[in-house]
Symmetry: C2
Subunit: 168 residues, 2 copies
């Protein structure tokens, strides 16, 4: 079977967001064992002008659900970015995965040329579906997933690349 827009997006998002949820479980357990206030990890940053862990999870979610919705031509669920605990971040991931699972291959396949319009900082950016997925969504999605991983790793969480990749 040929590579399709669906295969290159939705199952990848579901798998990687699931891995992130397991990493957050490990972070929550680490905080409990070490008597670290979970908010210390959730608000941790790699640089003062980088965003904290919670934001990295929220934007990874936004990239995945936004991509699924824009390619399918439907409205994405709106989440208010108020998560401030590990259970809330895990719930955000679970809701994102549930939405991704509700989108089927027929809605995504064949969207290589679909017009996608993003509004960012008051400006419109226009893409076709394929470059939107390959040059915008996937780099951003992995950027925020990896940054979430790196924040936790930098703060002492004992995880490895197998956790990131979901090799179990």
């Amino acid at each position: 079977m040929s590579l399709s827009m669906y295969q290159a997006s939705i199952p990848v998002f579901i798998h990687m967001m699931g891995n992130l949820s397991v990493i957050l479980d490990k972070a929550a357990a680490y905080a409990e064992t070490k008597k670290i206030d979970p908010s210390v990890l959730i608000n941790a940053r790699l640089a003062p002008d980088m965003r904290p862990l919670s934001f990295q999870v929220q934007v990874a979610s936004d990239m995945a659900k936004g991509c699924a919705a824009r390619l399918a031509g439907i409205d994405p669920p709106s989440f208010p970015d108020t998560e401030s605990t590990f259970p809330e971040l895990k719930e955000r991931i679970a809701k994102t995965i549930a939405f991704l699972k509700s989108v089927n291959a027929a809605q995504i396949d064949g969207t290589e040329e679909r017009d996608v319009v993003l509004k960012m900082r008051g400006q419109e950016t226009r893409f076709k579906g394929q470059p939107y997925l390959l040059t915008y969504v996937l780099p951003n999605f992995y950027f925020h997933l990896t940054t979430a991983y790196a924040i936790l790793r930098h703060n002492g969480l004992d995880i490895g690349k197998a956790d990131f990749l979901g090799v179990r």
Copy 2:
């Protein structure tokens, strides 16, 4: 045109490795301006048991050239992982990009079902071409690119996500 194995890999690698090269230019200039020994940045890590910047660049290169070679059924160029300066790391990227450009779409397209065998830590892992690209190469490639970015950002380099994405 339908999404193809070539489109989902080689042009993405070339674009993102080019962005990394520009980021290394900025890092080299930053080191010079701030009178930082460049090796401080090149050996910087986000955690004591994470790998340094040089390794992140080398593995991003390995993921890209290994994917191109394995899908095309040719031998990848072998680079000895001895780079220890910014010019050497940039040369590694340039050689990687040159190899990627030497591989054409006809060599990569249609490799969704190609058998790929990886030897990792003495063990063989077998993939078909499509899951090899989607669940192994791309997550690893972006993981190491983002970690390289994060190491430099954590060490004070003034770059933003536009540099990572190559939005110029």
